[in-house]
């Protein structure tokens, strides 16, 4: 006869709440849950399994995020933990929560404009507008729509570089993806 000690495992709701406190390493005002990269939390026996999806395939923050999740959950007393890398369905900025969008704006990053992800079919059209963006991205500082794209890429893969032609400040735009 083996004596079993019933250990109450934290609920997955509780784990979601804990992960709300794990910041994105590059944009620390938003959490990994707000970014929409946590796809599933489940228990397999006494092992906690967390499915994480990468934002961009080559994003160097991916392994840092995994480490942060591990460290935070170990700190909450989680012993056995497995992280799964889930590719499908691919991450989209549609999953960035409304709260997070406001946090991004307050932090100086224009949030993604839904429905404007690039579609390679528009390459020729984009080329005809060479040098101009077809998007009006409002300046997160002064709110002006009088802005221009400086580069399709910014300081991280998820952002593009913009400039406000009214307040003259450069800013990042979190690209719709």
């Amino acid at each position: 006869m083996v004596n079993t000690v019933a250990v109450a495992l934290p609920s997955t709701d509780q784990v979601w709440k804990w992960l709300d406190q794990v910041p994105d390493p590059e944009i620390p005002v938003v959490s990994v849950t707000e970014l929409g990269i946590i796809r599933e939390i489940r228990w397999e026996g006494d092992t906690l399994v967390i499915a994480v999806t990468p934002t961009y395939s080559g994003c160097p923050a991916t392994s840092v995020i995994d480490l942060s999740i591990e460290a935070h959950l170990h700190g909450q007393g989680i012993g056995k933990l497995r992280l799964e890398r889930r590719l499908s369905p691919p991450w989209t900025t549609d999953w960035v929560t409304p709260d997070a969008r406001e946090k991004l704006r307050a932090y100086g990053i224009a949030p993604p404009i839904d429905g404007t992800a690039p579609d390679g079919r528009t390459a020729a059209r984009a080329a005809r507008m060479a040098g101009r963006s077809n998007l009006i991205v409002a300046c997160p500082r002064c709110g002006s729509g009088h802005t221009e794209r400086v580069s399709q890429f910014g300081s991280t893969p998820c952002k593009a570089a913009y400039r406000c032609k009214d307040c003259l400040e450069p800013f990042d735009y979190f690209k719709c993806h």
Partner: protein
């Protein structure tokens, strides 16, 4: 100790077909090696770009491609089943074992060559990945769907710059036309199928390469037209063999630089 998440291995009957494995391994290496070598070429611009924004854009594109490499080569290693990793394939194979098209290994030259090569490749890559999202292999399809979103940016960016520089100053126009003339005879390798490509197509894993041609011609024709550039009157499929491991001398130099650390300090990690 790195906490690298394991990839969720969804059941994939196509990958379990033993008869298909040798061809599939080669085919996956082609996908991965194209991304790896082009990614490496683009990364050579890091710190040398003509403007900060270009420098960042080239490095970001390189990063995406290295990310795709990790997915393709990890799957290749899994299919091979000999215990090798994506890193082993990237850092410990010699040139003859690389399966990239010759187009991507040519030296980057100036920005004109860099961007024209990027454009010709992006336009192919976009069509290829679009086809692969319908792959009979769910694992291949999910990598393609992930990569396609990023490659859509690459194609928009390179199209935009080909037009701006082609239809730019006399100097930029001349350089872009020279770049097109130089690269054109290498583009056809991307569309020339051999037994490996045919096996992948027959198994429903990949589209027929020839079937990608019409959409590529349309994109390339429209963008080059807008760029006021002229298609060279030479065959586009002159230079072949990279996919079978017969490379230009340039690949060896790339590998010497890229693989030095793992060869000098086997198993080094950071």
């Amino acid at each position: 100790m790195a906490a690298i998440a394991e990839i969720t291995a969804a059941p994939d009957p196509v990958l379990a077909d033993d008869g298909l494995k040798p061809a599939l391994f080669d085919w996956l290496c082609r996908m991965g090696d194209n991304c790896l070598i082009l990614g490496h070429r683009l990364s050579e611009w890091c710190g040398h770009g003509p403007a900060l924004e270009e420098d960042i854009a080239l490095a970001n594109t390189a990063l995406d491609l290295i990310g795709h490499t990790q997915m393709w080569l990890a799957l290749a290693a899994e299919v091979e089943g000999k215990g090798r990793s994506a890193d082993d394939l990237a850092f410990l194979r010699d040139a003859m074992k690389f399966r990239n098209a010759k187009l991507v290994e040519l030296p980057s030259g100036d920005m004109a060559v860099t961007l024209m090569r990027e454009f010709l490749f992006d336009a192919w890559h976009f069509e290829m990945l679009t086809g692969l999202t319908e792959s009979a292999s769910p694992r291949v399809a999910e990598i393609a769907a992930k990569a396609l979103k990023e490659v859509s940016y690459h194609l928009e960016r390179s199209s935009d710059l080909v037009v701006r520089l082609g239809d730019g100053s006399d100097e930029s126009h001349r350089r872009m036309q020279d770049a097109l003339n130089r690269l054109w005879p290498y583009a056809g390798e991307l569309f020339t199928a051999d037994k490996v490509d045919e096996a992948a197509a027959a198994a429903g894993i990949a589209p027929e390469l020839a079937a990608l041609r019409a959409a590529w011609d349309k994109t390339v024709g429209e963008v080059l037209g807008e760029a006021t550039l002229t298609l060279p009157e030479i065959r586009f499929d002159v230079h072949q063999g990279g996919k079978q491991g017969r490379h230009t001398e340039h690949l060896g130099y790339i590998l010497a630089e890229m693989q030095f650390l793992q060869r000098a300090y086997p198993g080094a990690e950071w």
